[in-house]
Symmetry: D2
Subunit: 135 residues, 4 copies
């Protein structure tokens, strides 16, 4: 059981009908993607061809920030606001799409970009599933 | 001249036609709103009627995180991505709207909610202006 | 293998002699603690006796922010700075100690505080182990 | 009057004897430094000699995260914890020192590094003044 699942289980009030498995999966995916993107930006900085990776670094940094914030917003349930949740998930899916695409371009050459691209794809998918589950 | 304006001025490459005054105003509004929301959440915790303010606290926390992330995304110009910028600004405007509404409900009773609601309104407006300026 | 371990494995340059297992454990513990503290603050807001939990909420929020930042700093290896790493870990250990203590006071009554206190203890321990490993 | 000063003024409980001017100055300096460091990291990515600036970028990113977290911790007053505040300020001063030094090395060549170094120096000084004011 992940930390997010454990914390969902102990929430003392009604979680309001949101699919808890999709929610927990998305929280986990957000924090994992934030970590991967933070580390990938730094790994790019240590590559000899860093000058060719600057767009990748920038997208990594945006994606890390947005995933982190999305993981936080999804970890809160008190006074739930569907509009705000949906807008945040849309921004997160857009960031993960952009970062997954940028990293995929370098995935054959840089192993960290390949691993990070996979984290971005998982997080994008988890965001879209949760958007659909919100109705 | 604010820090954001000064940093925009020193950016070494092309800023790509974005309205720099609208951009600087939005960056400043995001960080000011993040500070106001962080402080307002804490001020609510010190009110005797905190039990009536829990939705306000939660919305403050979401708004602080989203404004902070938006201020960071807007402070980056390398490898600019209009889709990602727009989705982030939409989430920020939604958060500021929700938080401004929540704080306004208590603005007559709690001065920190009144001040915070004003910061949220300014930031929401700055986000919408920038969305329009992006075309 | 966790995301942090996978990203450490793919870092393209020398990791400089830091104990990689202790490092990966601490990164994981930081992000798990950040999630637990964010969720615990929110869970406290939904408790009927929220007025008695305000110090717990505040400490949760500090701990979430500091753990998140520490997890980010530890995910970077380029241009490593031992002094900065140590000062960050000391702040994180202090935050986890304070939050673990605050949550422990309510652990018998609130399950989320019990689970969060455990995450804080694990993270505090992981920080202290890494401080020792830094020499 | 800055946002931080305005929010301090509206805090509904006792601020506990901390020098409010030093506190407000430090909160403002933290958020300004976070913005400057975020923008400077990005500006470095757009420089032709980015390969020589990777340590500067990394230190910028650490400093942005730590200043942002410190600004948040200082914006909370409920359940004040002097130990945690001091440890956070020490980490922030260390980050600002490291980043100010890194940026100063390139200040003659890159205007954004010069402006960012000044923000780091102001923030380091504000942190040290506040540490002293805490007693």
């Amino acid at each position: 059981m992940t930390q997010a699942t454990e914390m969902l289980r102990t929430y003392p009030a009604d979680l309001g009908g949101v699919d808890q498995q999709a929610l927990a999966r998305c929280i986990d995916a957000c924090f994992e993607c934030a970590q991967a993107c933070t580390a990938c930006a730094d790994a790019c900085l240590s590559e000899e061809n860093v000058a060719e990776l600057v767009k990748c670094v920038r997208t990594n940094l945006d994606c890390a920030d947005i995933c982190d914030t999305t993981g936080r917003v999804l970890s809160r349930h008190t006074g739930y606001d569907a509009n705000l949740t949906r807008a945040t998930l849309e921004a997160c899916a857009a960031a993960c799409k952009a970062c997954g695409d940028a990293c995929t371009e370098h995935a054959g050459m840089h192993e960290h970009c390949r691993v990070c691209a996979e984290a971005c794809r998982r997080c994008e998918e988890a965001c879209r599933e949760l958007i659909n589950a919100l109705g």
